[in-house]
C-alpha cells in the first residue's frame, strides 16, 4: 500500500488542519515489500508486508514532541496530532530546535521503476530457482535472499513545505558453501530496477568463489599486505568515513577531521585520485533528493583530488556557526578507473583479494580506526594470479589511511548496502593491516 503523492498529501493536509500549534511537521512513510529467503538449496521463509507510518512533530516555544503511528485516515492522523501537541505542552524546551522549513526546490528524480512496483511472487521464485540451479550444478549449498520494495516518503510543515519521493529497490544476495563447509563464496546485486539483477550471474560469482576456496587454505602471518578490495569491501569500510563527515563533531574536537582552532577543510588528506561525491539525480542510480529534515539533497563533492571540500552540517549548527547547512549524503559515488577486478589482480605481485568484510566496528573515531573480518572469498595473489584460498583474517585499519595508500582503482559498481546508495570502485591498496587469523569459513 505504497501511498502516492496525492494520498500522502491528503494525510498531511488533514494533520496540519487538525493542528492548533504553529510549528508542526508531518512525515508519511509507506511501503510494500516482499522477500524470499533460501538456505540449504531450498526456500526457508517467504513474506510480504505493507506498512504505513505517520509521524507528527509538534513544537510549542521550542519544546517539541514526536508521535508516530500507523494512522491511515483523517481521524487517525488528527489523533496523532492531538497527542503530539499534548506532549509538546509538557516537554521541556530544546534550545537547538529550528523553525519549520518552508517550501523547498528539489532535484527531479525518477526513482520508481514500474516493473519493480508490479513484481510478484513468481518473479521471486524464478530468481531463486536460477540461483539454486547454479548451486546444485556446482554441488554447492546456497543460502540467500531476494527482496524488493516500493516505498514513498512525504513531508509537510505548517510553514508550507511539501515534499514527496517514491522509489523502488530490489536486491539479490547469495552465499554458496561447499557441502563439507571448507569453502564459501558470496555474490550480490542491487538496483532500483529488478530487471537489472541477473540472478544467474550473481549465483555464478558466488559459486566460483566457493569452488575456488574449496578445501580451505593456509593462514597468513598478521601484518601489512597489498590487497585488492572488491567494491563491496570498499563500501563496507567507506561508510565509517562518510559517517565522520559531520561538521559539529569536528568543531567540537570529537572527529578525525578536527583540527586545533578549525577543521580539515581544504587539506589534502587522501591520494590525488580520490574523489567522492553525492548525486540524488544520477540517472542510472537514483536516490532520494529529500534529507530527513526536509532540506534538499543536492549534487555535492565531498572530496576532490584528495582534498576535503565539504562537511555535513545541521540547520542548528549552521546557524550557530554562521555557515550554510548541508545534509549528510544519502548516495556516494567514488571515482574509479577502467580496470576489472581481474585486471587489478594482474597488477599485483604479491597480495590478497578480499570479497567482503564482516562485523565491522569503529574502534577509535579519532583515527576512524575500524575492526572486522574478511569473509566469503579471501584469496592469495602471487605474480598477478589468484593462487588459492587463505584463511579469513581480522583487520584493524582506517579507511582514511587506506585512501592515502591507493595504488589502482577499478570500474565503479553499485554494491549491496541498505540505507545509503554506494557506487564505488574496487581498489588496490598498499599496507592493509591484518591483526589476527580467523578459523571461520
Amino acid at each position: 500500500m505504497t501511498l502516492g503523492r496525492s494520498e500522502a498529501q491528503a494525510l498531511i493536509k488533514a494533520a496540519l488542519k487538525a493542528a492548533t500549534l504553529k510549528d508542526v511537521s508531518v512525515r508519511v512513510s509507506s511501503s510494500r515489500s516482499a522477500n524470499l529467503r533460501f538456505a540449504g538449496n531450498a526456500p526457508t521463509t517467504s513474506g510480504q508486508a505493507e506498512r504505513v507510518e505517520v509521524s507528527v512533530t509538534a513544537t510549542r516555544e521550542k519544546a517539541s514532541a514526536t508521535v508516530s503511528g500507523s494512522a491511515q485516515d483523517a481521524a487517525g492522523v488528527a489523533a496523532l496530532v492531538a497527542r503530539a501537541e499534548a506532549l509538546a505542552a509538557i516537554a521541556p524546551q530544546d534550545p537547538e530546535h529550528m523553525p519549520p522549513l518552508g517550501p523547498q526546490r528539489y532535484l527531479k528524480v525518477a526513482g520508481e521503476d514500474p516493473g519493480t512496483v508490479k513484481l510478484g511472487p513468481d518473479a521471486r521464485t524464478d530468481a531463486v530457482a536460477r540461483v539454486l540451479k547454479v548451486a546444485r550444478d556446482g554441488k554447492l549449498v546456497a543460502a540467500g535472499l531476494f527482496e524488493h520494495v516500493h516505498r514513498s516518503m512525504a513531508l509537510g510543515t505548517s510553514a508550507g513545505l511539501f515534499a514527496y519521493h517514491g522509489e523502488t529497490e530490489a536486491s539479490l544476495t547469495t552465499t554458496m558453501r561447499t557441502p563439507d563447509g571448507s569453502g564459501s563464496g558470496w555474490g550480490g546485486a542491487m538496483s532500483h530496477r529488478a530487471v537489472d539483477i541477473d540472478a544467474a550471474a550473481v549465483a555464478r560469482r558466488a559459486a566460483d568463489k566457493a569452488e575456488m576456496s574449496r578445501g580451505g587454505g593456509p593462514a597468513l602471518a598478521p601484518g601489512a599486505y597489498t590487497v585488492v578490495l572488491e567494491a563491496q569491501a570498499v563500501a563496507d569500510l567507506l561508510g565509517f568515513l562518510i559517517g565522520s563527515l559531520g561538521a559539529r563533531a569536528a568543531d567540537e574536537g570529537r572527529s578525525f577531521f578536527s583540527r586545533p582552532g578549525g577543521s580539515a577543510i581544504g587539506e589534502a588528506l587522501f591520494g590525488p585520485q580520490i574523489r567522492l561525491h553525492s548525486d540524488p539525480a544520477d540517472p542510472r542510480h537514483p536516490s532520494t533528493p529529500i534529507a530527513g529534515d526536509g532540506l534538499p539533497l543536492e549534487q555535492t563533492v565531498w572530496v576532490d583530488q584528495g582534498k576535503l571540500l565539504a562537511q555535513s552540517c545541521s540547520r542548528f549548527w549552521a546557524q550557530k556557526q554562521g555557515r550554510a547547512p548541508l545534509p549528510g549524503p544519502r548516495s556516494l559515488f567514488m571515482a574509479g578507473g577502467n580496470a576489472s577486478v581481474a585486471e587489478l589482480v594482474r597488477g599485483v605481485q604479491s597480495g590478497v583479494l578480499i570479497t567482503r568484510l564482516w562485523y565491522n566496528r569503529m574502534l577509535d573515531p579519532r583515527q576512524i580506526l575500524v575492526t572486522g573480518l574478511t569473509r566469503d572469498g579471501t584469496f592469495r595473489i602471487e605474480g598477478g594470479r589468484l593462487v588459492g584460498p587463505v584463511k579469513n583474517m581480522r583487520y584493524n585499519e582506517s579507511p582514511a589511511a587506506l585512501l592515502k595508500q591507493v595504488l589502482a582503482l577499478g570500474v565503479p559498481e553499485r554494491v549491496v548496502e541498505g540505507g545509503m546508495l554506494y557506487v564505488v570502485p574496487p581498489l588496490v591498496v598498499d599496507g592493509f593491516r591484518f591483526a589476527s587469523v580467523s578459523d571461520a569459513v
Binding site: A49, E50, E147, P222
Partner: protein, 547 residues
Amino acid sequence: MSGSRRSFLVGSGLAGASLLWPRREVWAGPPPSRVPAPTVAPAAADASARMLGESRLLRDEALASAAVAAAQQAGASHVDVRLGFLRREQLSVRDDHVSNVGLREEYGLGVRVLADGGWGFAATARLDSKSVTTAAREAVAMARRSALLMPAPVVLAAASVVRGGWVSPLQIDPFAVAMADKVELLLAAARAAMAVKGVGHVDASLLCIREEKLLLTGDGSRVHQICFRVMPGLTATAIDRRRGRFASRDHEVAPMLAGYEHVTASDLVGGAAQVGEEALRKLHAAPVEPGRKQVILAPSNLWLTIHESIGHSTELDRALGWEANFAGTSFLTPDKLGKLKIGSDRVQIVADRTQPGGLATVAWDDEAVAAQRWPLVKDGVFVGWQTTRDLAAAAGEERSRGCLYADSYASVPFPRMPNVSLQPGPDDYTTEDLINATDDGILISGRGSWSIDQQRYNFQFGGQFFWEIKKGRLTRPLRDVAYQANTVEFWNSCDMLGGAGSYRLGGTIGDGKGEPQQSNAVSHGCPPARFTVNVLNTGGGGGGSGT
C-alpha cells in the same frame, strides 16, 4: 583470601575506584534456580488481568480469527496469526536540554502459514476484514510457490494447545509516569555529570517499550502477552582539545524486562559524577602494553562476550546454514553435541526464557510453546541447542525449546536467542577476590567495540573502563584496550568465577539477525570471571598489534 577483600581500594591509593556496577536489586530478582523448565508461566504482573482485559487488541480478535479461517479455507495445513502492537517512548537529553521526545506506535496483523509443506507470510496494517483475509490468501499462495522449490516439506514438532495471558512483572507502568518526571530525572543526571570539571558533553536517555501480542493458531491456541522493557542510559564525554583527544564513559546500567522501578533503582543521578570522573580518568589513562594476559571481565562486559560467542553459536538454524548469507553459520555442528569441550570444567551456561528481568523472558513464544530453561554448556561440554518447532527434529528432540520470535507484526517469526547465562561459581568469590588472586592482568568493565567472525571463532572486544592489575591490586586506569581470542580457547581459559552474590544481568534490545534484519531483546547473566586472552592496543598509529 577473605582477609584481603576490598583492601585493593586502600592499597591502590585510588579512593574513587568503586565500581560502577548496578546494585544487585537493580536486576530485578534472584538468580535463576528453577530446574527443570517450569510448566506454568513465570509470575505475571499483579495488574495483568486488568491490562489484558483493557487491551485494544481484543477489539480486533475477530479479524485475527477470520484470518485463521481464511488461511485454512485456502488450504493451509498450519496457520498462526499475530496481532502486534508496539509502543516505544524515547527521551533524550544533551547537556542541559532535551534533544528528543518521541513516541512511536505500530499496529498490524501478520499471518504465517504452511501450505504444501512450504512457508508463506503476509502482513498488513489495514485492519479490516477484506485486508486480513486477502493477506491470509496471499500467504497461502506464496507458500505453495515456495513449496515447488523444496525437496522436502517443513515438519513441525508437536506442541500442546495452550490458552493464556501474561504480563511481564512490573511495579510501575513506565507509560504512566509523567513525562516531566522522566525528563527531570535525565536532566538532573546530565547536570550532575556536567558538574565534573573537564566533562564537555553528556547524553542521557530513557527508552521505554511496551510490546503486546495476541497470537491465534489454527489448532486452537490463544496467547495474549504484554512485555515491558526499559533502558536508561547516561554517557559523559571528556575532551582534551589541546592534545586532540576525547573519551566517553557510559553508565553500566543494563536494560531490563521491568517497569519504571528499574529506572529509579539504577540511580542515574547518584552515579553521574562517577561517570563524569571516569570519562576524565580515561582521557588521562596510560596506554595498554599489548600481549598475552589475564583479564577479569566484569558482568557489564562479559554478557556481550557470552552473547556473541555462545549465544549465537548455539542457534541451531545458524548451525544448519539457514543464516549463512548474513549472520553466518556456527563452529558448532550437530555431530559435536555432547562431545565438544567448549570451555573449562567450571563453565556452566544455560538458556532461560523464564529468568526474572531477562529481556527475552516470556510465558510462551511466538508459536505458543511454553518458556523453558535448559543447559547449553555443562561442565564445559556443549550439550544443547536453541530450537523452534521446525528445528526440533534436526536437534533430535521431540519438542521445541520455544525460541520463535518476530520483532513486529510485519516480520516473519524465526528462531531468536533466549536469555543465555553463565552460572556463578561455587566458591562465593567476589570481584575483589578475583583481583587479589591476579598477579598481572586487567579488569575490564562495560560495553565497548565488539566484532566476531561469522562462525563465532575469532572475536575482538573492547570495554568501557580498564584497570591495570599488578600483584593483586588495581594500580592505574588504562586506555586503548581490546581483547582478542578464539571462542573455544577463551572459554577453556576460564579459571576463576565470581559467586552467586556477584551475578548480574546485562543485555541488549538490538540483537540483529535475519534477512530482512530483525531486532531481538535478550539478557545475559554472569558473575565476573577470569580468562587468558590476547590484549591489543588500539591506540594511535599502530592500528592494533599482536596476533
